[in-house]
Amino acid sequence: MLEIKNLHVSVGDKAILKGLTLSIQPGQVHAIMGPNGSGKSTLSYVLAGRAGYDITEGSILYDGEDLAAMPPEARAAKGVFLAMQYPVEIPGVTTMTFLKTALNSQRRQRGETDIDAIGVLKLVRAKAKTLNVSEEMLKRALNVGFSGGEKKRLEILQMAIFEPKLAVLDETDSGLDIDALKLVAEGVNALRSPERAMLVITHYQRLLDYIVPDRIHVLAKGRIVAEGGKELALELEAKGYDQFVKEPA
């Protein structure tokens, strides 16, 4: 589903990713772990298509297509979803209006018909309930005045509504207490399916206790430096990232 080969990415003059290779199949959950500054967020933004991240070498194929050639909205319509570390506040646009606009924008690009306001309301309400997103939150301006936990829950709610084929979760655990973390993880686990791939990006092993990955990749200095099964997370927790970050003597 996702084939990243020898990916080099620069932000301005600074090289951040320096030859990253990664492959994810449908149904799999992969985790990327790495210290601050290793390029984790850069990877998530490159996948979502944020401006200012220049691919200088390598390729990203998504379902056989060149992902980098698509504008962000086309990626979303084709099933790529990024749950952001810092969801943006948008005063003046209610959460419900945003969800309806986004859902129908994706559908239109796929040649599907719009879902009417009542249909969207029903769909959103059903999914919101399980994630403990209140009616009141849906009426408020998007992310404005939301707590950290509320913002993250809303990201996962969007994932549940849009039903992406590839979901990238960027530091979804940051800023969450243990109860909020469990709720978010349950929401994510409920969306695991044989057709859907997930890439969970995190600094800490804690999230992976709840969202258990099939494969873990360690990212350091812009490259994958180690790979393994879920037990790799525990090793990292015990020994830290130093073994990968230190310059060879």
Binding site: A48, A76, V88, V93, F162
Partner: protein, 370 residues
């Protein structure tokens, strides 16, 4: 000679003495009326105001050429903005033949909006008297003719309430409207202004809070493209204690458009406990668009609360990316964010139908900008 004829003759003398304002006159610094009008100037023709739909039951009216006593008592009496005598409002008084006067009798609360349209080229005079304890919603729209110079006097009695929604259509000519409003004790004026610009389009408000506890709440938007110009100039004077005023104006300008907001708030000696807030913001969508936002405060009283602020910016790239990453195409995302920016200044329009009419105008104008 009647008192009104004398007042009109005086207005003519004042206008001829001052002539049209140039950019050297501070209040007209960002709106070059003289150049916009060219050789022809404002002329001496008479423009008109007409009712859209019917006159709500209970509203009294007359022609200013043949005023009833209540109209004669107020006509030409109010102080417009711009110092001693405002030459532009003097011109409308001097040259407009007749004009429309409306009165809501004391204690009468009218829920059905009174719908007006100003039209034609030349000068125009309007007078509205809302007597003590009466209430009215006034919708005022403009046709596309011009150049036009309207002078509008509004008198609100004790405890009277006027909601005024003014929608200025996009025009290619010059349209200027000078509005002077006097509020007695506990009267309330809610003014909402939407402008889509013109060669020169200006609404100037001079609001005098003459009675204890009077309130004026102003909000407005302008959406301007190409070489459109729109100017909102306000002068709110707090003359008595415990008076309140709020102002929130938001502008979006693209192309080579120019948005102007000049807002002056004066708290006169003795108006203790006055409360005033003033905010103006503009989003510029191109390098060549311009916004001139100038809030000003003059305070001569004690224990007053006054706040003012102005900000000019561009759409937020983070917000655009967030919306696009959720599947919303870029032009749609930009339109959504522009609308969201203006929302706060549209929301205060209490009458749902009028609010919907203004929102529709704003959406059309935004589509033209993208």
């Amino acid at each position: 000679m009647t008192a009104i004829a004398e007042r009109r003759a005086e207005a003519r003398t004042i206008f001829e003495g001052h002539g049209l304002p140039t950019r050297r006159v501070e209040e007209w610094k960002y709106s070059d009326l003289k150049s916009a009008l060219g050789e022809a100037g404002l002329g001496e023709a008479t423009a008109y105001a007409r009712l859209l739909g019917r006159l709500p039951e209970g509203v009294d009216y007359c022609d200013l050429a043949n005023p009833k006593p209540w109209a004669a008592a107020h006509f030409g009496a109010l102080q417009f903005g711009g110092g001693a005598r405002n030459a532009v409002s003097e011109a409308s008084l001097a040259f407009a033949e007749g004009g429309l006067a409306l009165r809501v009798p004391a204690g009468l609360a009218i829920t059905e909006p009174l719908m007006l349209e100003t039209g034609g080229a030349g000068h125009l005079r309007l007078l509205l008297v809302v007597e003590a304890g009466a209430a009215l919603t006034l919708y005022e729209s403009t046709d596309t003719a011009g150049p036009r110079n309207a002078g509008f006097e509004i008198v609100l009695g004790e405890g009277a309430h006027l909601a005024h929604v003014r929608l200025a259509r996009p025009v290619e000519t010059v349209q200027v409207e000078e509005i002077a409003i006097s509020l007695a004790a506990r009267a309330r004026y809610d003014g909402h202004f939407a402008s889509f610009g013109g060669k020169l389009a200006r609404a100037e408000l001079a609001i005098a809070l003459e009675g204890e506890g009077a309130q004026a709440h102003l909000s407005g938007v302008s959406v301007l493209g190409e070489s459109a110009h729109a100017d909102v100039t306000t002068h709110v004077i707090h003359r008595k204690g415990n008076t309140q005023s709020t102002q929130l104006f938001k502008h979006v300008a693209g192309g080579k458009a120019r948005a102007v907001y000049q807002g002056k708030v004066t708290v006169a000696k003795g108006a203790d406990g006055a409360d005033s807030r003033q905010t103006a913001k503009a989003l510029l969508l191109s390098e060549t668009a311009e916004a001139d936002l100038k809030p000003e405060l003059e305070i001569f009283a004690e224990d007053v609360k006054c706040a003012h602020g102005a900000a000019i910016g561009d759409l937020d790239a983070e917000q655009i990316f967030y919306l696009r990453s959720r599947g919303i195409p870029e032009d749609h995302a930009r339109a959504l964010l522009l609308y969201a920016f203006l929302e706060e200044a549209l929301n205060p329009i209490a009458n749902e139908d009028l609010c919907a009419a203004v929102r529709a105008g704003v959406q059309t104008a935004l589509r033209g900008l993208l």
